[in-house]
């Protein structure tokens, strides 16, 4: 309770400071519009269907990108993580490709797919893939050796080993990867729209900027922040739910 009150006080304080800065003339309202104006505009926007269409477009490319990246990462990660030979052979390649900033691929994606959602998807998938892939590899490789040898000597089939041994071990890792990947995918979805210009919230931000519409620009920044927050909260919730049986979550609950 105390936490919620203090947190609300913090938010309120921030809004008051925001409102005061242009009011006191510290920054020209053309560059930093009043908080009341920005939220007033937002209240108008949410009644506009065009606004929701943009949100839908951004979230669609986010969802498609994240799904493709996750499927590919889980499939490849499981195979490579389970075979030591492959893990050793791919190590340097992975370590080289992973730090390549995904935005470096934007020009290439534009050339190959034009100013469309598909170009944005290349960037989103590339960025989100590594987040999930690396976690899956760690997770699959983390299987307890004693448990694995036990499973072998009890003659568990490959499918059974996957289901009862690898999956439970790798799931916490996968969930972490998924949460990180979801956040990164959203960043890249918006970024791609800003740079490539495929329709969505990101393009609207860029249009507001070039039109000098500061109120609209700040409003959209707030909206993207809310979307980011929503994605975080949802994925953290899913993570806790799907790992309700896991030691880390159980220990957490016990200490409460």
């Amino acid at each position: 309770m105390r936490k919620i009150l203090l947190g609300a006080a913090g938010l309120l304080g921030f809004l008051v400071v925001w409102q005061l800065i242009p009011t006191l003339g510290l920054v020209d309202p053309h560059y930093l519009p009043y908080a009341t104006d920005v939220f007033g505009r937002l209240a108008e926007e949410v009644r506009d269907l065009a606004f929701w269409r943009r949100v839908r477009l951004t979230m669609t490319s986010w969802a498609i990108g994240l799904t493709v990246a996750t499927l590919a990462a889980v499939a490849l990660g499981t195979v490579i993580g389970m075979v030591p030979f492959l893990r050793r052979a791919t190590h340097t390649t992975v370590e080289f490709l992973r730090p390549v900033p995904s935005v470096a691929l934007i020009p290439l994606a534009v050339l190959m797919f034009g100013l469309q959602m598909r170009a944005a998807l290349v960037i989103i998938v590339y960025a989100a893939f590594w987040q999930v892939f690396v976690q899956v590899i760690y997770g699959v490789a983390d299987v307890d050796t004693v448990a694995r040898d036990t499973a072998r000597s009890f003659g568990l089939t490959r499918a059974e080993r996957l289901r009862y041994l690898v999956l439970p071990t790798a799931l916490p890792y996968l969930m972490t990867g998924l949460r990180l990947g979801a956040a990164v995918a959203l960043i890249l979805a918006v970024t791609a729209e800003m740079v490539i210009g495929n329709p969505g919230l990101g393009r609207m931000i860029e249009l507001s900027r070039s039109a000098g519409d500061a109120v609209g620009l700040y409003g959209l920044v707030v909206v993207t922040g809310m979307l980011g927050l929503l994605v975080n909260v949802v994925f953290r919730f899913v993570e806790r739910r799907s790992l309700a049986w896991h030691q880390s979550v159980l220990a957490d609950e016990a200490t409460r």
Binding site: G10, L11, V103, I205, E206, V221, G228, L229
Partner: protein, 271 residues
């Protein structure tokens, strides 16, 4: 791996082992480049180039004056932004992490700021600061600071309370407590934050230059693309990749040095 019945049980020649490691490290990359070279001789795709063309373009584009004009300023801004983020993030993180009321007041606000996709701050920074070098550094800091700040807060919070109380009862000064207890205790988390910040900073460096610049790496790559200079564009992507890899390697070395005690401790508890 089970050692029984394989050659692994016997100590092998050191040379063989080194050769095997090298083979594993370079095998796949060499194979990939080889396939790429063969494939590029028959491909008719205009947007993909062969390794030889790419290397030539790389040499002609980046080695020479372009290095000083476009690459160095970009990297310089990146490093300034990163160091500023680390400094501010750790300093603010220690303060916020140590004072519970402050943490509780700021928590929702910080969560929100972290959730904003950093590149949307570029238009905001352009509006507030104009198209300047300062603006680009500010953009990098405003994106890279959050993972460092939030991880520092968590790390400082998780400082062992028994050790803290011991430090209090021995009247260890505030300064020594900070340098000898709190910061080392938080350092694994801080390093995690810095690693996340690295990739964010690199992204922001590129994007801020694609948006608002007439020089720099990001600008160059976008320029090549708009003018259909395909090989040059690829060479830019390669260079960005190399910068990313170098950053990751340097960070890895620093992390291992800073956290040597921590990794050592983990080994001991595991054994």
């Amino acid at each position: 791996m089970t050692a029984v019945g394989t050659g692994r049980a016997r100590p092998r020649d050191l040379g063989v082992q080194v050769a095997e490691n090298v083979l594993f490290a370079v095998g796949l990359p060499v194979l990939a480049v080889g396939l790429w070279a063969v494939w590029s001789t028959r491909s008719t795709n205009r947007f993909l180039v062969g390794p030889r063309t790419l290397l030539d373009a790389f040499r002609q584009t980046w080695i020479g004056p372009a290095f000083a004009d476009d690459v160095l300023p970009s990297v310089y801004r990146l490093l300034i932004g990163l160091f500023t983020s680390i400094l501010l993030g750790v300093a603010a993180g220690v303060v916020i992490g140590r004072f519970r009321p402050l943490r509780e007041i700021l928590e929702p606000l910080l969560e929100f700021f972290r959730a904003i996709p950093p590149p949307v701050l570029i238009p905001v920074a352009m509006l507030l600061l104009g198209i300047t070098d300062t603006m680009k550094v500010v953009v990098i800091v405003s994106g890279a600071i959050w993972p460092i700040l939030l991880n520092t807060i968590e790390g400082v919070r998780a400082t062992d309370s028994v050790m803290l109380e011991t430090a209090y009862s021995f009247r260890i000064s505030r300064w020594d407590r900070l340098w000898r207890l709190i910061l080392p205790a938080a350092s694994p988390r801080i390093m995690t934050g810095v690693r996340q910040a690295l990739s964010v900073a690199l992204i922001l460096m590129v994007i801020s230059e694609m948006f608002a610049s007439s020089a720099g790496l990001g600008y160059r790559i976008a320029y090549f693309q708009r003018n259909y200079l395909i090989a040059e564009m690829w060479s830019g992507i390669l260079l960005l990749g190399l910068i990313g890899v170098v950053l990751a390697v340097v960070f890895g070395v620093v992390e291992r040095r800073v956290l040597r005690w921590y990794h050592g401790m983990k080994e001991v508890t595991r054994a």
